[in-house]
Symmetry: D3
Subunit: 304 residues, 6 copies
């Protein structure tokens, strides 16, 4: 019968015991995530993982889990990463003293070889392995793979020769799209060839911004070692939850040197169609999940 209970003697359900409150709380969390999953299902999210986060294996593991979860609900992730601390450490170990001009690392040929070995040969493949362990079908890339990016040399603020330091001049997202369509998650290291095939050291925040712009990403997320942007750098209570691109541009000069490339890249991405930029504290476990799937969000969110 279409009626799902028979008409026989109705056995009354036994008295309901007190329900586990935790179960209902769990259900509420999952239900809260619903509209966000709907919103971002099928969207592209670019996540830039800072070098500091990559030094903490436990953190890297939760970031990998977060990326796996986001992938499974139909979000197309592209991961980019830097590795500043690791490069500096490798240089010191090799007897080369790290040197900076205007916040940019002076990168001679020997240094560039080290940068590639550390970023591509160590950090990128470690991250791929960690993501694989979390169930992500990660594929490590540099700017050379599949003609993904080209860069050109830049100089310091006063025209100083910085060696093999460059900025992105073009992004061809074909390979990223092919991999995503086949269910793979690209992981991009920030070394990029110039027109002659020589590799340049490019700021990883800028790479993230350029890739997000080329893909028309819905979100660009910076996982950093700060909680977000502050109105007043010395006042932890002045954390900014949300601001617009023009607000951000206005306050750019007052920011720390390390934050400036992020801000420039964020503005570039927002100008080129990226939906939102987030600056999160990568040291908070599951920061990525909390940002995407909860009502409160965390860190600082920048709107176009």
């Amino acid at each position: 019968m279409g009626d799902d209970v028979s008409g026989g003697p109705v056995t009354p359900a036994p008295p309901r015991p007190a329900r586990d409150v935790d179960a209902q709380a769990k259900a509420a969390v999952l239900a809260e995530a619903l509209p966000y999953i709907r919103t971002y299902h099928g969207s592209t999210v670019v996540v830039k993982i800072g070098g500091e986060a990559l030094d903490d294996p436990a953190l890297t593991t939760t970031v990998a889990q977060d990326i796996a979860l986001l992938s499974l609900v139909g979000i197309r992730l592209v991961v980019t990463h830097g590795g500043g601390p690791q490069v500096s450490q490798a240089m010191t170990a090799a007897g080369i003293e790290p040197r900076f001009v205007g916040g940019l690392r002076v990168t001679d040929d020997a240094a560039m070889a080290l940068v590639r070995q550390v970023l591509v040969g160590t950090i990128n493949s470690d991250l791929v392995a960690r993501l694989t362990a979390a169930g992500v079908r990660a594929v490590g890339l540099s700017g050379a793979d599949g003609g993904l990016m080209t860069a050109e040399r830049t100089v310091g603020p006063n025209g100083e020769d910085l060696g093999a330091v460059g900025r992105v001049v073009s992004v061809d997202p074909t390979l990223l799209r092919s991999l995503a369509a086949a269910g793979f998650t690209p992981v991009v290291a920030s070394v990029v060839p110039d027109a002659t095939g020589g590799f340049l050291n490019v700021n990883a925040d800028a790479v993230a911004g350029s890739v997000a712009a080329a893909l028309g990403a819905a979100k660009l997320v910076y996982l950093t070692n700060v909680e977000g942007l502050y109105r007043d750098l010395g006042d932890a209570g002045s954390l900014i939850s949300e601001l617009t691109a023009s607000d951000l541009a206005a306050m750019a000069d007052g920011l720390s040197a390390g934050m400036r490339p992020k801000v420039a890249s964020a503005l570039h991405a927002l100008e080129h169609g990226v939906g939102k930029v987030h600056i999160l504290d990568g040291r908070v476990a599951h920061a990525l999940l909390l940002e995407v799937f909860t009502d409160e969000g965390i860190g600082t969110q920048v709107l176009p």
Copy 2:
């Protein structure tokens, strides 16, 4: 540079405030859901909603939300439903006294017309509307649509003529698969045509089991008005968390009349390749989410 912090003056992160404990708990719930999402991504889950659950608008709404969430993470849902209480109520209102033989509703032609009007014309389209409101692209069906099912007449336990009461003899899942591939969620009412095109009243639990078997579903979930199966019907503490099909078959005779069609359908489904059958308390908010996405699960789970 590939290194993601500039080398300029390192601005120390402000002292971290105490983190919101809730945030970490939320993240933990989401992370716990991860392996389940991975397991069921792309799988088919058939959910049978009992008539009682459909009388409580608040419950129907949370069930609809759960189905929406499951859909969004890539699970292919097929919903089936009964409507016994509603049919009985309509019959009484129309001056026809509901009558049962061996737990089966005697369904003469006038009653059958009412069954169709209630199940197809009221309950099914109400459920479609509720699912639509939750963001599900639901499509209401009966067994006649797209040649989905055919049934044949059955008699009572002692050969009594039951009128237009039948049992499923074939399921053609083509329409269900076409709808799923196009992103729609089928909602199936348990009226099914026989070979001559006349409609029969079929037990909704049996419809759920037959559909799940035809689709090779990963899960078949019965949302009922009990907490699950009990070892001892009078003892709420004897709820069974998990048992096998053969255990279930052994205890079938001792079950309440209302539970028997569910058990028979569950055994049929498990014999035909369905991965697991669940008997859950549909009166618990988000029972479906809790069953699929948490480590504890709820209700009774039957393994092949």
Copy 3:
């Protein structure tokens, strides 16, 4: 050899008997259908079946056969239907007196429940069963299924409250197209949800016109209980074979109350890209076949 007769002794064909005249006539009918099949192959035709036609099982059967034939030659059919007489009869049986204001049925909540039960729970699924028996893979729908249509409440000519009576405000043909692409024929009942999910009673002629417009149908055919439009309502000899939309608009005021919604819907459809509208006598066996496949056509044809 390429030459298909051998060169051996040529056996003269025996004298040809007089041919069966019927055979040649049959062949001529089939050959006459050729250019029409070519013209409409791959086109969409929306057929609105009036409630009266649905009361005659023999007629419904020939309509179902016609729809099957049109489908088989590559025409994409969408069927819509009303059920006015059946609704009035059900209301009377339930002790509710049918009441009309300006030709629109006053539909309070109890009446609306009946409308849904009759149109969706009885007429729609009966029609699906009949089409299935004729070999059509029919799928019954209401406006709620797959988000097909939304409606809003309307009032009577003098602002009277009509209850749950509405007019179509949007049509999303995605589900219709998905079903057609998979070889299924949608059958649409004229109950449509409003923005809150509550169902409204919508004129079936208007539903047909809106669906035809949304699909850019080649033809919209009304199967009615009249032979077509008359210049002079009392004069059967004044049947109009063909007229333009502007002619039709000019004569709208002089038409019977029952014809007005058809005319308004026809004009709406023609304004929105539908190729032709036909008003046929659904009581004539195979009216649909004759209209589409013969040189004479039947009934009244309205050109844009």
Copy 4:
């Protein structure tokens, strides 16, 4: 309202005039065709047109119309043809006397050049033009095109050298399938290359049988200049409506020399999965339509 008549004053339909009887007869013919269209929709039918039929422009035109109609209802047609009378006429005009050994045309090099010119350069392209005029997207082919067929030389019954006379040794239906998938209708002339690329004259009935076998055709139809097969060659009343392959094999020796290649090819086709073989009188207008679309069929039908 869902009810399609308004409730206003019901305008009675004017008295119905006597219906045109012809209209109902037309409708009946179309309706009779329904189950046949359903049966053969998507099937492949190979039609062999005899050389005699091709000499009568009016007949060729109706054959072309029939093929167009069959195509439009979703039947995949492949046309093959011979041209014996035309070849003999061309040879005589060129001063070469046609000569036959055991029913096979002796074909020296000069004759073979003529066979190709007549079959490919005249008959095939005339037939393509006629089919095009009827709305068929015909494409003329010989056995060489797209590697369709290869043949090998044969000798006469007593080992006589016949020159460039051959039999089919392989058929590669790839090109036929590609053309059909793109909506084109292949028209195949019976000249076929051997392994060295030299062309051979192959019996057109045999080509039709081999092509039908390679395609697993549902039907193979011979349009001939006789009404069908007779039990008794001299008795027009002994026409056989239907027989089996084994019956046909048993009576093969008693047939006329011109009929033998057809019979051998028909048996070959039926052994290789072709559904039915028909021998029809191509001189009857629309013989093809009548055979496929009417209950009586015409001519002789051979079952496997």
Copy 5:
């Protein structure tokens, strides 16, 4: 007309030097071809083979090999051909004296029958057989196949009636594209139906130009019996390597009668988007390969 006579000093193919190429030289040749393969990979190249070239079996074989090689590296070839000398020879043999007005062959009905037999029934299928032997999946076509081309009658320079002589008025490249997509190489004979289905004799150079224009070909190559265009017809040293369309238009009046249709067609093609036109000496072995794959190219190249 299908024939493509041209004039100018007849340059005999240069004597082939003894060849002894070592491994490195072979590698160098292959490597030199690389950028050309890259450039033309996926492009369409139309090759017109003159009637003279088709009289030399050895040459036809190397042309077929060249076409096979071009196909294998991903170039989409379409072959067109004439057959003037062969038609004249057949007319003479049949006792009809070839007659020309303003370089156009007067073609009465008897002549037209011969033109079709020679071009379609002999030359086209011989060429298909030769290409097949070289591994090309060639498919022979005339203008009638698949509705490829239509033509209309033309008259002589002074209005003379030329009989069945025409010029192309439309090209539908659908069939060519379908065949190419399925890996087949079309081979087009220059007989084209007019609107009534009657065949016309069309200049083969014009057919090549029209087809190349309709396909937006990257190259149109004329394989002729001259080395190319000369500045001074009597001076073999005045061969032109490269010129523009406007240069070519300027020198058109001074060209031989046989070269004029090529020039007119070349200009037509270049105006309609064809990338380059080449006039090569078809008597040089592998002229096609050398033109496409080597740095020097051969013959005369015309740029837009």
Copy 6:
């Protein structure tokens, strides 16, 4: 190990003769390549480039050009590479003395970090850049990317602990196939993760063999620093052109230590469906082109 040392008499690349190839000779070379292009069109060829070849920029450039040409004619290339000399050099520079046991490099954790940096961070991305410059859409991979390979630890011949040295236990070619289908050429470095995600140093010849077997490659080509295999290691005249797998197995014991892994991998590949294995002298310019596209081939060819 990623390094691929081999031995035997070092044959210097032959002096390149002055080259002067005329047009006909060029055409002959191109025409000779035809059957080979046909044979390998659509096939997979795995090319292993030895570490020595990668030290000579000019050679790497011609190898890249060869790979580009092979890709353009429709061959699906997968490139693998080692880097033994480069690893040894980096270890020495870092103050770690390279140490071998039974021909396998002892690889402690510090050494493994260096191996990854050199193979993935330097050699692989240099090779990708070089291939990109030649027009190949190369994508660099290690065994971790997309779950391509897993390995397990091995010990020395006498059970010595070798550290992070492993052998391939599984290959999942999904990523390779996805990239190939999208027109990218994978370049695989021989570092492979074990089940725990830790990286192991795997012999590059073995990686090539395992990848070729998993893909069912038509050819596996080793580009080495020897001319091929010799019957008598000391006698340059004893180069073997062709031998079978069983011949090769029989002579395995007499080979140099560097050749043994190649031989074992070659035998493994041939047993698992690879069509042919080639051992070529990578120091000869365009060795790859000459092997694939010329009648003579070069080096040693091993048949199954």
